[in-house]
Symmetry: C2
């Protein structure tokens, strides 16, 4: 089915053009004309791949989370709960240039979602998935007897998830101050603080 593959490939190339525009010019730059120009296609042919601009933006946003999920699916866990927790949490942080690019785009879409219902739905779905991943980490630490007895499960899920998104935000805004080492160190200190 080369035709279908090409079609999907082309959609991804357009989505990546949207990412580049958002990083360079902000969300305001992502007009149909600029997207077509950046992707090297005619504005008319864009309609072949996406019916509306809203659909195009939603696809571009979901592609970011797909990339993260693909990376997570390729992770090899060791069975050592603390080490595995760190490994998974690191995937949600802008620890290298590629992830920082994705995170910048993700945050821009997240904020745009406040005034775009299609993007908001997507953002809520990813919020729920992320929360589930964070819950899994806290629950595993509790079940394996590593977590301190006095910790409050629900409060720690909220704290860890917020810590993660706060670090991600600081990591893209102040990359010199909040670099990969600082982000990893924060996660490590947090995990130690809730473990025996």
């Amino acid at each position: 089915m080369p035709k279908i593959v090409d079609h999907e490939k082309q959609r991804q190339l357009v989505a990546e053009a949207v990412w580049r525009i958002i990083r360079k010019e902000g969300m305001e730059g992502a007009t149909v004309r600029r997207i077509a120009e950046e992707a090297g296609v005619s504005p008319g042919s864009l309609r072949h791949y996406f019916r509306t601009q809203s659909e195009l933006l939603a696809f571009s946003m979901s592609l970011v989370s797909e990339r993260v999920k693909e990376r997570i699916a390729r992770l090899r866990f060791t069975g050592e709960p603390l080490e595995d927790a760190e490994k998974l949490l690191h995937e949600f942080l802008p620890l290298d240039e590629e992830k920082r690019a994705e995170m910048e785009v993700w945050m821009a879409f997240t904020i745009k979602a406040l005034s775009d219902s299609t993007l908001y739905e997507l953002s809520s779905r990813v919020y729920a998935e992320m929360k589930m991943a964070v819950s899994l980490i806290i629950d595993t630490l509790i079940e394996k007897g590593l977590a301190k007895e006095e910790i409050d499960r629900d409060a720690q899920i909220e704290i860890l998830y917020s810590l993660l998104d706060g670090l991600a935000l600081h990591g893209i805004m102040q990359p010199d101050q909040v670099n990969a080492d600082v982000m990893k160190n924060s996660i490590l200190h947090y995990l130690k603080s809730i473990c025996r």
Copy 2:
């Protein structure tokens, strides 16, 4: 000096019009024409208050942080370090409708700052001020002998600041799930976790 007062008042009214547009339509909506319309002035008269659109946006962004600073200046501290820490930290969270509106606008400007050097400079300055406030809280808990001896000062400053911004982001994105009680509870659990 009624003229100067009026001028400043008018600049604030225009800035608040920008906030309303950002909340309703996103940053893309904040064009000179739409801002003039929302503020009830002619596009030409906007130039009387701001030389450029960039200056207008920078003023609108800085007005958000000014409002927060004004509220903090009015706080009455008790001298009880944990209680005072909570009181100060709550001012940085979208705990009511007014603060949520401000935080939505602030986050939108923060993301736009990634592709706007004037806004970026402002965002970096506020980042540094916030970090100083968070450092003050951690240092006070340490000096008063309330913090656990084993905590790492720098790591905890990073963790608390990230927790704060992560909660703020979740509070505006998922206000039903991350409501005022959840945010306050997260702060309380965090503070307890680093104290004896």
